[in-house]
Each structure stands twice: as structure tokens, then as C-alpha cells.
């Protein structure tokens, strides 16, 4: 298992495992509306409040920017949902990660580590 990204853990420190899905638009949320359960959602910009409707069913959230004061971090904390903000990925082509199983673990105080579960 290798670390593919790391960022600031801004909510629950629960270790989690789930399928990585990428959400950019409200249409993506509509797609996930009935099947968000157990998924870990990746977002990369200001569209984050879009996740509201499915947040209670997700397993975790990952954002490539932001910090503890972001609305996504605040609402993730409300749901007790692990949330990694300001995440830097060590892979060049992010698209290969979508649909893969990833695991979130922690090291140090608030460092969230994202692992790719190899097929």
C-alpha cells in the first residue's frame, strides 16, 4: 500500500476505507444522490458546499485546497466525517485514482495520509 497524498486532517481521526469519487458539479451530486453510501469524495475547488445533500452518507471528504476554516471542514465536523483539506497528491494523473479504493490514516498530530489499495 502506498501513500498517494497527504493533507491537513480537519475533523474526525477515524481510519476509513472507501471508493474515491470525484465531484465537480451539482450534476455529479445528482448522479451520486442514491448511491453515495460508503464513498470518499474528492473535490478541488470552491464548489464544495455542493456536497451537502450526500454528506451524511459519505465515508469521508478530501479537498485539494482549503483549511480548517473552510465550510466543507465545518460541515464535515458536524457529521463527524473524516475530512482532509489542502491535500497534495503525489501522482501526476489524478484520473487513474477515481473509482479506486483508498484508505485514510493519520500520522503526527493532524497529518492525514491517503493510501491507494492496490488491485
Amino acid at each position: 500500500m502506498k501513500v498517494i497524498g497527504e493533507g491537513l486532517s480537519c475533523s474526525s481521526k477515524k481510519e476509513i476505507l472507501g471508493e474515491l469519487v470525484y465531484v465537480k458539479t451539482v450534476e455529479d451530486v445528482i448522479e451520486l444522490f442514491d448511491c453515495a453510501h460508503g464513498k470518499i469524495c474528492l473535490v478541488d475547488d470552491a464548489g464544495i458546499t455542493t456536497l451537502g445533500p450526500i454528506l451524511s452518507e459519505l465515508t469521508g471528504t478530501i479537498c485539494t485546497t482549503g483549511g480548517a476554516g473552510s465550510h466543507l471542514a465545518i460541515i464535515s465536523r458536524e457529521f463527524g466525517l473524516p475530512c482532509i483539506m489542502g491535500t497534495k497528491f503525489h501522482v501526476e494523473d489524478m484520473s487513474i485514482l477515481i473509482g479506486k479504493q483508498v484508505q485514510i490514516k493519520y500520522d503526527g498530530d493532524n497529518n492525514g495520509l491517503i493510501y491507494l489499495i492496490e488491485d
Binding site: I30, T49, T65, G67, A68, G69, S70, I74, D109
Partner: protein, 330 residues
């Protein structure tokens, strides 16, 4: 002093007791801050009466019910949201309301001069509560100048409640058997602070729930880049009991939001390397924030999530709300 009754569309600072139904969560907290002598940008509030009348006249509740009774309502939310937005944008404000708004603007400009801009900010009754912050679900519109711009932004605040994502949230709650309380929306019309730097202050360290620490996120420009995750902000952890910087980390801060030089609202500009690569806040400013944090925790008697702004070295509190669900963040 003007005597206010429920028949007025507008509520003014210091002239009305904080009341969530009339002023919304954010508005109620601003009134409370003002009553406690905290420096906030001057504001007045279009209370929920105007919203309730508009929603009633446009039959929005009935339309929502009809949407939710369809077989796959989640597939129709984008179209539905567009229709509601058009209807709200075409809504004609009652004459009396427009007259009161004009008078209120004149009153503010008599005190602050005619050059000021206004932020038009949503304040729903379900926002900013201990149980559920509804953070960022309704929108704000910054740097409005004319009466027409303000009226348009008020309507956009109302319409933002019926965005596709909020409709999906309502639907999801309905499916899970949770009926949300009736939503009332008030709108805050507030002097726009064209801040040099801004951010968020939590009076506990929300990363590890340490109540002996405070956490600050900051960026140059306006506060919105922090709350909507468009940058990795500076991160500063303070000792709460005795002012001391425990940790400070310079964030990427690629961009900032500033006033649109050519009209209302804001634009994004890049932060140059010389400001991007250093902390926005100096020790003296951190000291002011530390003091504010202690003060507001006292006022509300509960840990607070505070949005703040610095302009000409003056610290303004833009809003304060309880830190939600503390117990879960362990």
C-alpha cells in the same frame, strides 16, 4: 430613537432585541455583538417579513411540494431551481418596503458618507445554531452600491436558498423522515469592509478539540477565499490562556478576492510571491484576535467560529457563530 414594530420591514442595530425568527441566526448574533460593544461593520436587516410575503405570493411552498411528489425529483432540481430563481428575480418588492430601504440607506450614508459599499448577506433562521450551522448554504453578495444592485442582491440571497444543492438537501432530509423547521430568511445589509486581510478564528483548536488553544486561518483580501476553500490559508495556533504563538504555517495562498474595480461584486487576483510566501498576520494583529476570541467566548458563553477582517489596522468582526458538534471532533 425610532420605535420598531413587527410591521417594519427593516430592523436597526440597538433598536431591537436579538430575535432569531425576525433577524435570522447571523443577524441575531450581529445584533448581540453590537449590544456588547464589539466592533462590527454597521448594518441593518431586511427582516423575515419581506421573505415570508414573497414566498407566499410566489406560492413557492406549493411548488416545492409538487416537485417532491414527483417520481425522481432529484433529477429535476436544476430546472426547478432555475424557475424559482427567475420568479424571485422578477418579484416586485412592495412599495412600502422599497421606501423603507431608501430611507435606511440614506440614514446609513448620513453617518458613513455616500462613498460606502454594501455587503448583502443571507441570514436564515436555521443558520449558525449550535446543532447545525448550515454553513455556506445560502450566499452573500459583496460590494453593492446602488439601490438597484442591493435589491437584486437581496433577491439573489433569497433565491440561493433554493439552489439545486439545497433542494437536494431538503429532499434527502425528507426521504430520511427529517422535516426541517420552516425556513425564514432575513438579509443583512452591511457596510462592506474592503479588507487588507481576513479570515476565520476558532476559539478552540478544532483540529484536535484542544480548548486551551485557538486556531486562525488567514489570507490577503476578503474572507471568502478561506470559507469557500479556494486557497490553502495560513494556519496559526495560539495558546488561549496566555497569549503565545504555538504554531504558524504559511499557506499557499495562490489567490485573493478583491473588489471588482469595474462594477459590483468581487474578482480574483493572484497573490505575488512576496506576499504569498509570508504570513498575513503580525504579532500585534494576532494579539488583537486573541483578545477578540476571549471576549466573544465570554459574550456567547460558548466556543465561537468567528469571521474577521482587518482594514487600516482596525479589526472588524464580520460574524460569530457557535462551533458546531464539538463532541464529535475527537
Amino acid at each position: 430613537m425610532r420605535k420598531l414594530t413587527h410591521n417594519s420591514y427593516f430592523s436597526f442595530l440597538g433598536e431591537y432585541p436579538p430575535n432569531i425568527k425576525l433577524l435570522g441566526g447571523k443577524g441575531m448574533n450581529l445584533f448581540k455583538l453590537y449590544d456588547n460593544g464589539i466592533r462590527i461593520p454597521p448594518c441593518f436587516i431586511l427582516n423575515s417579513r419581506a421573505y415570508i410575503e414573497a414566498i407566499d405570493r410566489l406560492h413557492i411552498s406549493e411548488k416545492l411540494e409538487s416537485l417532491f411528489s414527483r417520481s425522481s425529483p432529484h433529477k429535476d432540481v436544476v430546472n426547478f431551481a432555475n424557475c424559482i430563481k427567475t420568479e424571485i428575480n422578477n418579484y416586485k418588492f412592495p412599495k412600502e418596503c422599497v421606501t423603507e430601504l431608501k430611507q435606511a440607506l440614506i440614514r446609513v450614508q448620513e453617518n458613513l458618507g455616500s462613498k460606502i459599499f454594501f455587503a448583502v448577506r443571507s441570514s436564515a433562521n436555521i443558520e449558525d445554531q449550535v446543532q447545525f450551522s448550515f454553513a455556506g448554504q445560502a450566499e452573500s453578495f459583496l460590494f453593492n452600491k446602488t439601490l438597484a444592485e442591493i435589491v437584486e442582491s437581496i433577491k439573489n440571497c433569497w433565491a440561493s436558498l433554493f439552489s439545486p444543492q439545497n433542494l437536494l438537501s431538503l429532499l434527502k432530509n425528507k426521504q430520511r423522515g427529517i422535516e426541517l423547521p420552516t425556513i425564514n430568511m432575513s438579509v443583512i445589509i452591511q457596510e462592506m469592509i474592503d479588507s487588507e486581510m481576513a479570515g476565520v478564528l476558532f476559539t478552540i483548536n478544532v483540529l484536535n478539540n484542544n480548548a486551551n488553544q485557538m486556531l486562525i486561518n488567514s489570507n490577503w483580501g476578503l474572507c471568502e477565499t478561506i470559507t469557500n476553500s479556494s486557497v490553502i490559508p495560513d494556519l496559526i495556533i495560539l495558546d488561549k490562556n496566555e497569549f503565545k504563538v504555538i504554531e504558524s504555517k504559511v499557506g499557499d495562498k495562490e489567490i485573493r478576492r478583491v473588489k471588482n474595480p469595474n462594477g459590483p461584486f468581487t474578482i480574483t487576483v493572484k497573490n505575488k510571491p512576496e506576499i504569498k510566501n509570508r504570513l498575513c498576520l503580525q504579532l500585534e494583529q494576532l494579539l488583537k484576535l486573541h483578545h477578540l476570541g476571549l471576549n466573544l467566548e465570554n459574550v456567547f458563553n460558548y466556543p465561537q467560529d468567528i469571521e474577521w477582517a482587518f482594514k487600516d489596522d482596525i479589526l472588524y468582526t464580520l460574524q460569530s457563530r457557535p462551533i458546531t458538534n464539538l463532541s464529535l471532533n475527537k
